[in-house]
């Protein structure tokens, strides 16, 4: 009763969605967005015309001017600095614009350029001192604030009247501060356009990545070769220019530059940035966060003014809001990863049929057949998940350092690094022309030419519309095989976990994996079969129209027709394996080898039928103590297309090959690999065809 309930619950309620949403990078914006909704909900019933057209237009104009400054401040804070001088830059720009327009009679574009130049110059002073001379940002920008403010005071004392007397009338100038397009004020339109540019720069252009890198970890950025001084300097220049632009709009709107212009503006900008969730320590933030914060500050300020509260009420309430926002933000920052770790794993329901008992009568009976292996590369190789041999007899395997290692024929004692790709190269296969095609976990599908050139074939497939996770990226490309027409079918074991956490996928027991096809004729990649339980080994059958694939947690081997009259059909040929199948490869007598990476155990099988238990375990028990499937012992079987087990090889004392991930037959020997092993085993197969090689079987001996 409770089992069928668990089954239906796991099927109907998509519990994995919560974890996936929390893992998205934009979830940080949820809190300021909530604050925004709260403030709107609080003020709109108290202010009768909150949403009236004139009120929205007014508020948007304020918002536009504040947003320009907040954008600049966000970028500076993102790079790990702080700019306290924006208020003085704003005032200086206002004064200069009035001077240029009224006293000197310049045209509007020249005035804007002049304002930007002044802002840029002040920003440059900040940038040179903070970026290149490495002075402290807080103190330096504070000093700049004081100095520029003093210059402003001195200039206004002398030229206030000359600068304020309007000398020319210009509709364009009035439009800057007071005009609107279809109800959208110019300041907001300008701020939105600049915000879009900044967002694209920050998220997709090199400068933006450099800024975030410098803010996130300055020393590491420096070590990685990023020009830290130049990047930091550019953020201050940008902040200065934006503050100056805002000052120009203000000058146009009010036409005056009194001595209290821009006072306290830096505090408002910082409040907006922090309310929006930009981290003052640097490295975390975005244009959207700054905009959300600016929106909240504008709404609160204008609403409090509208409600007619007494002096100081507005500032006090904003201060309290800032305190609350910072507290929530800090707590969220500290606990987000913890919450995510607990919530992300979403165990599902999986009922495997009862495993058969493995005793002396079973075809899987234990034996010592693998005791007689010769060892290759003992202690010299780490993590040879798959091995393959070419026509000359050289042996190739992957290593966990990201290399493809080549052991030279005929004795496989000397070796070199055939290619350094990265990640952990898993499945190998040779194509018709002797190119070595490799699935590299964490990276994708790669090709190594006989000239040892590395070519990336595919690291991106089509994204499914309903998936929250971006499943166009490949996380765990596992094994592959090549069809007669050159199409490469490879498995991606899971889309929800990276290669460092692949074992957790066993806990989930959800069909998170898929099989993808790369067509070299058109260089396109498409997902062929999805929703598989950790698809692992793939092997072409001899008819050239179908392939076998193993599902590790599904404990079954399926045959799928990709061509011919049965195209699209799949048939489970071995439904209830006693272990977790890994790679599958051809044998010389027309059948197939399959390695078991581990054997099923009753406890774990029972746990898979109790998703509630596994969920509670994930929440309460430390990661290292979670229940996992047995992956300490396995065997190699030979089976045929009817699903009959024809042979079974064990290493009973477990010294050389306790856990086997792949086996490859070549010229009468069987080569064994293990992804956690530090050796390759070679076993002589009595009675096997001494001339049989994989290359000949696939390509009739063609290639290198």
């Amino acid at each position: 009763m409770s089992e069928s309930f668990s089954r239906w619950r796991a099927r109907l309620l998509p519990g994995h969605i919560i974890g996936e949403i929390l893992s998205k990078s934009w979830i940080d914006n949820a809190i300021p967005f909530l604050l925004l909704l709260l403030s709107i909900a609080f003020f709109s019933p108290r202010i009768s015309d909150f949403f009236a057209a004139y009120s929205l237009e007014d508020n948007s104009r304020q918002l536009g001017e504040l947003l320009l400054i907040v954008l600049g401040e966000t970028i500076v804070v993102l790079a790990g600095g702080i700019d306290l001088s924006v208020g003085a830059t704003f005032a200086m720009s206002t004064f200069a614009c009035l001077g240029m327009f009224n006293a000197l009679g310049w045209s509007v574009p020249s005035v804007m350029l002049g304002a930007a130049a002044i802002g840029g110059a002040i920003g440059l002073v900040n940038g040179l001192l903070i970026g290149y001379l490495r002075l402290r940002a807080f103190l330096t920008s504070l000093v700049t604030l004081i100095i520029v403010r003093a210059i402003f005071d001195a200039l206004t004392l002398k030229y206030q009247i000359a600068v304020s007397m309007p000398n020319q009338k210009s509709d364009l100038w009035d439009f800057l501060g007071n005009g609107s397009w279809f109800g959208v004020p110019f300041s907001l339109a300008l701020a939105a356009a600049i915000g879009l540019l900044c967002h694209i720069t920050l998220t997709r252009l090199r400068l933006g990545w450099h800024i975030q890198a410098v803010g996130g970890a300055r020393r590491s950025a420096y070590n990685a070769g990023i020009p830290v001084g130049r990047t930091v300097c550019s953020t201050y220049v940008l902040s200065g220019v934006l503050a100056a632009l805002s000052g120009a709009l203000y000058a146009s709107r009010l036409g005056a530059a009194g001595s209290d212009t821009g006072v306290g503006l830096e505090v408002a900008a910082l409040t907006a940035a922090v309310l929006g969730g930009v981290s003052l320590g640097g490295g975390r933030g975005s244009v959207v966060k700054g905009a959300l914060g600016a929106l909240i500050v504008t709404i609160v300020q204008t609403s409090l003014l509208r409600l007619g509260l007494g002096s100081g009420a507005s500032e006090m309430i904003l201060g309290i809001l800032l305190l609350v926002a910072v507290a929530i933000d800090v707590k969220w920052l500290k606990n987000r990863l913890k919450v995510l770790a607990k919530v992300y794993v979403a165990p599902g329901y999986l009922a495997l049929p009862a495993a058969e008992v493995v005793d002396e009568r079973s075809p899987y009976a234990l034996n010592d057949r693998l005791n007689a292996v010769e060892l290759i590369g003992l202690g010299e190789i780490e993590g040879p998940e798959d091995v393959i041999l070419d026509t000359a007899g050289n042996l190739y395997c992957g290593s966990r350092h990201g290399d493809v290692i080549r052991f030279f024929a005929p004795d496989h004692k000397k070796w070199d690094v055939y290619a350094h790709i990265g990640g952990h190269p898993l499945g190998h296969a040779f194509d018709r022309d002797g190119n070595l095609i490799v699935c590299v976990s964490g990276m994708g599908l790669y090709k190594v030419t006989p000239a040892q050139e590395i070519v990336k074939l595919s690291d991106e497939t089509n994204r499914s519309w309903l998936s929250i996770i971006d499943d166009s990226r490949m996380r765990l490309a596992d094994d592959l095989d090549i069809a007669p027409d050159g199409r490469i079918f490879f498995s991606e074991a899971t889309v929800r976990f990276d290669v460092s956490e692949w074992m957790v996928d066993s806990l989930e027991a959800r069909p998170n994996g898929r099989i993808i096809c790369y067509d070299p004729r058109t260089a396109t990649t498409r997902t062929v079969i999805s929703k598989l339980l950790f698809p692992n080994g793939i092997c072409m059958t001899l008819d050239g129209q179908s392939f076998l694939f193993a599902e590790s947690w599904g404990c079954r081997i399926t045959r799928y027709w990709f061509d011919g009259p049965n195209k699209g059909r799949s048939q489970v040929i071995m439904p209830n394996l006693p272990g977790y199948p890994d790679n599958i490869n051809r044998s010389s007598d027309g059948h197939f080898w399959c390695a078991f990476v581990g054997m099923r155990a009753p406890t774990f099988d029972l746990a898979l039928r109790m998703p509630g238990f596994r969920k509670r375990m994930v929440e309460r028990v430390p990661h290292d103590d979670w229940i996992y499937p047995n992956m300490n012992s396995g065997c190699v079987i030979k089976f045929d297309l009817e699903g009959t087990v024809r042979d079974c090889l064990w290493d009973r004392n477990g010294v050389n090959h306790p856990m086997i991930t792949s086996m490859r037959e070549h010229q009468g020997h069987l080569y064994l690999g293990g992804s956690l092993n530090n050796r390759i085993g070679r076993l002589k197969l009595p009675g096997a065809d001494p001339e049989w090689t994989g290359m000949r079987s696939y390509w009739q001996g063609g290639g290198a």
Binding site: S55, T156, P166, N178, L254, G255, A256, D260, T261, L305
Partner: protein, 340 residues
């Protein structure tokens, strides 16, 4: 007998007529009903520099008492000395379509465009005690040129070289962008231009802030220890100058002339205790009365279109010095209790 019937009938008619009259009939003097009808339900917006000092509080007393009496609404918005916030408040009030807008511009040009915007939206604009170059519909307040002429005359009468002193005076302006300050500065420049008996040795600004005024005055006194006097621009700010003079131990020796609203504590008390030598009062209590009068006038006689016939109601000025400090001021508490 017939006479009795006639008299009885007349009496009956009179009784009938009397009974037909409403129970509490106010005597209609021919105007009160029209005025009440025109004032009832109207909205008046009020955006002073801040409600936190004596002048706007006095003006507000006049406004809200009239509002309670006649049934119109006064919407006060607190700008808290901030030009930006004040401009925003005015924009909001324009959007709310008030009938009359009263503003006190902290800077000469800050609200100039907003005055025109309000007029264009059909709202009458009154500017109180400080004005933009464009008047709107009315200006109720002081004639700043006249005030500063009086201040200049007052200080010249004491500090002039012709009177035996050294003629050195210092100017401490308010916020340079404020119209009162600009007009004052201009007026003083014209007054002292070409004069041989007075030297303006320093000209600084204190932004209407008493602490800043004190710092500036202190510095000037150090530079010119033999300074004869200061011309201050507002009594609330110039308390700082008085403090600086006291600190330098020169009280009674250095002259300080200023101007203000005439409230007892800020004005007459300071003149009586020697902080100020002379304080030109523009009587904010009287201004409250004037303001209310103009508001009621504009509400009953809406100019068509608004802004077409601006008027100026300039406040009478009184020079307060030791001779009339006892009775020359009004008290804010009294005004709050009994009205202006």
């Amino acid at each position: 007998m017939r006479l009795n019937i006639v008299i009885g009938g007349l009496l009956a008619m009179m009784a009938f007529a009397l009974a037909a009259l409403p129970a509490h009939a106010e005597f209609d003097d021919g105007q009160i009903n029209k005025t009440s009808a025109l004032l009832k339900g109207k909205k008046v917006g009020f955006v002073p520099i801040s409600m936190g000092f004596d002048l706007p509080q006095a003006w507000y007393e006049g406004l809200h008492r009239a509002a309670e009496l006649y049934g119109f609404e006064v919407l006060v918005r607190e700008a808290n000395w901030n030009v930006q916030a004040g401009a925003q408040a005015i924009n909001q009030l324009i959007g709310e379509k008030v009938d009359v807008l009263i503003i006190q511009p902290p800077e000469m040009l800050a609200y100039a465009k907003l005055v025109d915007k309000a007029n264009a939206a059909g709202i009458s604009v009154i500017q109180i005690n400080l004005k933009s170059p464009n008047t709107g519909d009315a200006y109720v307040g002081a004639n700043w040129t006249e005030i500063f002429k009086r201040e200049a005359q007052g200080i010249t009468a004491i500090c002039s070289r012709d009177k035996g002193r050294n003629g050195k005076i210092a100017l401490i302006q308010g916020a340079l962008a404020t119209s009162g300050s600009q007009i004052g500065s201009q007026a003083l420049k014209e007054f002292f231009a070409g004069r041989k008996d007075i030297d303006v040795v320093a000209d600084q600004a204190a932004d209407w802030d008493a602490s800043k005024a004190r710092a500036v005055a202190g510095t000037i006194l150090k530079q010119h220890p033999d300074l004869c006097g200061f011309i201050g621009f507002w009594e609330v700010q110039d308390i700082g100058i008085a403090a600086a003079i006291k600190e330098a131990g020169l009280q009674g020796k250095v002259v300080l002339v200023t101007n203000g609203g005439g409230e007892q504590k800020s004005n007459c008390a300071n003149v009586a205790n020697g902080n100020f030598t002379m304080d030109v009062s523009y009587d904010a209590r009287g201004q409250a009365r004037d303001l209310t009068t103009v508001v009621e006038s504009l509400l009953q006689n809406k100019p068509a279109p608004p802004g077409s016939h601006p008027i100026g109601i300039y406040s009478p000025l009184t020079n307060i010095d030791k001779s009339n400090a006892a009775l020359g001021c009004w008290s804010l508490d009294g005004v709050k209790r009994d009205g202006p």
